[in-house]
């Protein structure tokens, strides 16, 4: 009798342990990626004046290159045109896109007023992706949603999109890239990204 009960308990425990733990924070490692990135953003904000734009860029660059699937995001933004590009164009576009992406964060996270990030959940999404829900919490208590989409590559989780207050940042980029490529071509897009990047570094109060 005891043996049967012990076996039952064992089977139940085994089943529980084998169940996918949806919603449990940190069970895949994706949350670690987000917490590292969020910490870098806060660090950039806290030291904003001291670091200046270039300092914030240098601080965020390694973290972003380790956390974001930049080439995948670029291809998604460029869309079907990607296949038609020359290798040299792809390379130039990738380099300026990486700089622009990092520059954008260095430019926008340029002051600190007591904000903090909080990760509230990690959930499995379709096709092996993971959604990590986090909030930027201001001192007033106002919460801004920062929801990340990540995919696994060789046992590493990488960010493929961020939804800020429900708005996909990758969709914003894609819409702009498609429009510029349509009117000015890929070289026009590269030039616009360069101009914007130069604007980031020259506008800042360093």
């Amino acid at each position: 009798m005891y043996l049967i009960r012990d076996k039952t308990v064992f089977i139940i425990l085994t089943l529980i342990l084998c169940l996918p733990a949806h919603g449990k924070i940190g069970d895949t490692g994706a949350t670690d990626v987000i917490e590292t990135f969020n910490s870098a953003l806060i660090e950039s904000m806290k030291g904003a004046d001291e670091l200046g734009y270039s300092g914030r860029y240098k601080l965020l660059e390694p973290v972003m290159k380790d956390s974001f699937a930049l080439s995948f995001m670029l291809k998604t933004a460029v869309g079907r045109q990607w296949k038609k590009l020359e290798d040299e164009q792809k390379k130039r576009l990738f380099n300026i896109y990486s700089d622009w992406s990092i520059g954008n964060y260095a430019d926008r996270f340029d002051h600190y007023s007591g904000e903090r990030f909080e990760v509230s959940s990690e959930e499995a999404a379709s096709q092996g992706a993971v959604t990590v829900t986090s909030h930027l919490i201001k001192t007033s208590g106002e919460k801004i949603d920062f929801n990340y989409k990540l995919r696994s590559v060789k046992d590493r989780w990488l960010i493929v999109d961020i939804h800020i207050s429900g708005v996909s940042q990758l969709a914003l980029t894609r819409s702009q890239f498609q429009s510029v490529i349509k009117t000015d071509g890929v070289d026009g897009l590269i030039n616009k990204l360069k101009d914007k990047l130069e604007g980031f570094s020259s506008d800042k109060k360093e």
């Binding site: 390379k91 990738f94 380099n95 995919r151 969709a171 702009q176 914007k196």
Partner: protein, 278 residues
Amino acid sequence: MRHAILNTMYKCLSIMMISVSLFLLPFSAGAEEVQTEKTVSGDIPENVLENNSGDEEYFGEDLYLEDDIDFKDLEAYESIPDPLEPLNRIFYTFNDTFYFILFKPVARGYNAVVHKEIRKSVKNAFDNAAMPVRFVNSVIQGKVKSAGVELVRFLVNSTLGLAGLFDVSEKELSLQTDEADLGQTLGIYGLGNGFYIIWPFLGPSSLRDTIGLVGDGFLYPINYIPDREVVFGLTACEYLNENSLRIGQYEDLKSGAIDPYSALKEAYHQKRRDMIEK
């Protein structure tokens, strides 16, 4: 004569305020959930990130030869149709100029004179008055809980909150309001965007949301005040106040954009889609 001038001034001011408010609509916070299925599909090829170490050329050239994206999946990112783009771009430029030349300086002056807490209270009162819009749309959408919350919030805030000036429901009862409007309701019932429209003064919209905006007007109690001057005055006050709390959001979007027109269009589209799908 004085009456006519006053009436005209109210009308102009209210149109201006409405336009700027709608212009900034997509940047307002509040969406709580994400579209979990709409990101990208297909795993990232392994070689893409092998050398992701921070060097200037950390991606090998072989990366660019990879055929790794199923381009059919990009349909999830398709934007709102924009057949009126040439005209819309003209109106975008007009609205942008209007915002920086006229509205922003006025709003800054207002901010300097009226304390933020007072502006928040004014916003609370107008939000409270707009309860029928959210209540009716919540009911039509089948969101019974949201409709109930709206009713309780209205009763509590109208009494204990002194005509809605103080959001006692949220502070004391943790009852938060959900955005609900007719454009959203029509979207939930399967009506598509139609196409993108930028109205002069009124800002970004779609065919569906324009119809919704007109319909919601019939549910807004302030519109039923017999004295039109009072209606225009209150409308102007509401939109000046509302947008005085959002100064800087449009600038943020514009500062990182290489094509602000497309960025605004997509932000609007994404925000509305998120409201419909959540």
